[in-house]
Subunit: 476 residues, 2 copies
Amino acid sequence: MTPRLEARASSECWHKDAASVGKRMCACDSREARLRGPAGAMAAEKLAGYRDRIRRELDQVVDFWLKHSHDKLYSGFFTCLDQDGKVYDELKYVWLQGRQVWMYCRLYRTMERFHRDEILEAAKSGGEFLRRFAWTPSAGSPGKCAFCLTREGQPVKVQRTIFSECFYVMAMDELARVTGDHDMQVKFTSVIEVLSTLTVSVLPFRVLQTSERVLQVHAESVMDQLVRWVRVDPAGLGRPQLPGSPPVNSLAEPMMLLCLVEQLAEGRTDVTDKYREVGSWCVQQILQHVQRDGTAILESVSKEGKELPGCQGRLQNPGHALEAGWFLLQYAVQHGDEELQRTAVDKFMKIPFQTGWDQEHGGILYFLDVDGHCPTQLEWSMKLWWPHCEALVAFLMAYSQSREPALLDLFSQVYDYTFSHFPDTEHGEWFGYLSRQGSVELDFKGGPFKGFFHVPRCLYMCERLLDGLLEASCDA
Amino acid sequence: MTPRLEARASSECWHKDAASVGKRMCACDSREARLRGPAGAMAAEKLAGYRDRIRRELDQVVDFWLKHSHDKLYSGFFTCLDQDGKVYDELKYVWLQGRQVWMYCRLYRTMERFHRDEILEAAKSGGEFLRRFAWTPSAGSPGKCAFCLTREGQPVKVQRTIFSECFYVMAMDELARVTGDHDMQVKFTSVIEVLSTLTVSVLPFRVLQTSERVLQVHAESVMDQLVRWVRVDPAGLGRPQLPGSPPVNSLAEPMMLLCLVEQLAEGRTDVTDKYREVGSWCVQQILQHVQRDGTAILESVSKEGKELPGCQGRLQNPGHALEAGWFLLQYAVQHGDEELQRTAVDKFMKIPFQTGWDQEHGGILYFLDVDGHCPTQLEWSMKLWWPHCEALVAFLMAYSQSREPALLDLFSQVYDYTFSHFPDTEHGEWFGYLSRQGSVELDFKGGPFKGFFHVPRCLYMCERLLDGLLEASCDA
C-alpha cells in the first residue's frame, strides 16, 4: 500500500520533489483536456478548494495522532482513542503500529511541513517497539508476527494471516529510508541480541548482519517469507489444510504483496529486478478477480481464477476493489501498460463504484452479494471511512492520469459525501463507522482496525495529486 | 442450553407430561399472587393470548424448517435460507446442525403435536450426518469437530473453541433419548468402522462399544473431553498460549457446560451424580461475572473472577446474561437454592435488561461497554433476534416461579417489541437482524449463526410455561 509514484523523494530531496508526483500523473496527451480558458480557471478554482481543505484536514489529523497516540512510557502507539482522543484501551495492534510508523516516515520524508524531529522520533520509537515485540516464538520456523500486543509488548493474539508481517515490512522499509539505516543500527543490533536468547527460529532473518543496510535486508527477508507463504506453502501460517477448503485467491493477498513490491523497489534498481516477477504475478492474481464476463469484481476466487461457490464466491467489497484499482493504475503507469490502465479504471474503479454506491442514502456500502442476496456480514450496509478514502484516491489518480471529466465528477461525488459525514468538527479526525443512513454509529477515532493510516494516506495522496494538477494547469 | 425442567418427559410419556413443566415452575408460596378473581381472569386472558400466538408461531416456524432446510441428497440441514426459504449457500455449520437435531428431538419427545415420523426421521438423518462428518483428523488426540462443512460433509473450517463439540453433545444425547439408542445402533457402528480407517485418535470415544447405550456413552465421552479443555488443559483446542493473554473466564463456557450437565443428567441418577460437581463449578464460574459491586454482568473476567483490562473486560452482552439468568434459575429451582434464585433474577435478568434496553428505539442492544464507551463491535447497536428470545424465556420463567407482576410486565414489554418486529408475516419465520431503529437490515431467515434453535426453543419453552401458568390459574 505504498504509492511509489506518490513519494519518489528521498529524505534529502523532499524540497525539490514537492508536487512533482501529481504532475507526473498528468500523462494525458490531449492538450484540449488541460485546464485552460475560463472553464479551466473554474476547474482550477475548484481543485484549489479541494486542495486547501484536504491540506488543512491532513494537518489536523496529524496533530490529533501526535497529541493523543504516543505511549511515552513503553513507546509504540495507542490506537484505541475515544472521540476526543482519550485512550480507552491500551492494546497495541501490530497492523496499526506498522502503518503508523510507515505513515510518519512517509510524511517526514516527502512533505516539507512534516519534516520535523517529533515525527521522526515517533516513527523510530514505534519502529523499535515493533522490532522488539512484534515477533512471537513459534513451534515451527520461521516465527509469526502477533496481531496484537499488550501495552508492554506481550503477545495477545496471533492471526493465521500474512498481514501483520506485511505492515511490519512496510514500516521497516520506510524507516530504513528516513534513517538511512545509520542511527537505527545500534538499537537494532541490541534487539537481535535480546531475541537470540529465544529460539533461534523466532526470527526470519536472512542475514543477521550489522551493515548499514540491516533494516532493509530485514524487511526483504520478511518479504521473501511472505511470498513463500502466499505462493509456495502456507503451512507456516498455522491454518490447517482442510479438504473442504481448497486454497483461495483472496484479493487482499496479491494487493498487499504488490504494495510491498512497490515499497521495497522504490529507487533501488537491484530490488526492482529482484521483485519484478513477483509484481507481475500479483497483477495477474488481482486481475483474476474480474468475473462475470467483466461485469463484477469478486473478493475471493479460486487459485485458478474461477468463481467460488456460495456466499464467499459472491462477495463484493467495493472499497477494496477501488483500492486495488489505484494500486493497478500506479503500476500500469510505471510500466507504460495502457491496457492495464484502462482495466484499472474501468473494471476496478467504475464497476465497484456503480455496485457499491448507495443510491438512496449516498456513500459506499461495505459488502454486497453479486446476485443480490443479502450479505451475511452484519455490517454490510454500514458506511466505513476507508472505502471512501480509497475511492477519493482512485478517482483523483485516474482523473490526473486521463483528465476524463467524468472521473473528476466521481471524485467530487465521493468528496462531498465524505467531507460532510466523516470529519469530526468538534474534536478533529474522522469518525469511522456510519449507519446506512449516515449517522455516526461508533464514535471513536481509533480502534482495533482504525489507526493513523487510511485517512492520512488519502489526504496525503490527494494533496499531492491536486498540487500536481494545479501546477500543470498553471503551466498550460 | 437444554432446559431440564422443560422436558422431563421421555419419549413414551410426552402425553402425560404436557404442561407439567410450567406448572412445576409455579412454586410461589403466596396464594395471593395466584391468578384469581376478576384481575386474575384478565391476567389469564392475557396469558392465553400470548400462549395462542406463541403456539401458532411455533407451528409456522417448524413448518418453515421442515419445508426448506432438509438436504435430501446428502442429509443434514441447509441453514442459509433466504427470506422465502431458498438456499443461498450450501455450507453446513456444525453448531446449527447439532442444534437442529436437538430441537427436533426435543419437540418430538415432549410435545404431542410434534411427535411425528417426519420430525424423527429428519433428526436421525441430521444426527447421522453429524456423526459421519463432524469430526476432523487432528495432529493431537483427541480430534476436533469442524465449525463448518461442505454440503457433502468435507471440513471447511475448524474453530479453536469448544462450541461445535458442545452442540454435538446436545444433539447426540437428545437423539439417544428419542431413539432409545436402539435403532441408531447399526448406523452408528458402521460410522465407527468408517472412522476407524482414519487415525485412531480422531474420535474421543471412551468406549467403542456396541451396546444400546452407545450414543449416550459417546455424548458423555465428548462431554468429559470438554470439561478437560475448559478446566484442565485447553491445549487440544489449538489456541496458542501467549504471555499477554492469560486464560479468561468467558461467560459462554460455563453456561454451555452447565447446559450440557442438565441435558445429560436429565432423569439419570448415575449421570446426575457423576456431573454434580461440574454443575456446581459451572454455577460458581457464572457467578464470577457479577462485577462492579453487583451492579453489572461482564462478559469476560479473569479465571480468578477479577475484571479484565480494556474493552474485553468492560464488555456487556445483555442477551447472553439473560440466557445465563434462566439457566441459573432453572438450576436453582431444581436444587432448592433460594439465594441463587434471587441472584438469577436480580443480577442476571433485571440488570442486563436495564442495561441493554434501548430507551429511545426499544429492543435490546447487542453489546455495551460498562463505562459507557462505544463498543468496538460494529454491530453493537443492532437488535438481534436471539437476545429477545432469551429475554422472553427468562422473564416468563421468573414470573412463573415468583408471580412477581413486574416480571410479567417485563415479559410483556419484550413480547410487544419482539412480535411487532421480528416475525415475517409474508413468508413465515423471523428476521434475525434489525438496525437500532428496528428496520430489517439482513433479510434472510437462516445464516451462519441463525438456524432452527433460538426461535423455536423460545417459543417451545414459553408455550409450556404459559400452559403451566394457565393450568395453575384454573386450579386456583
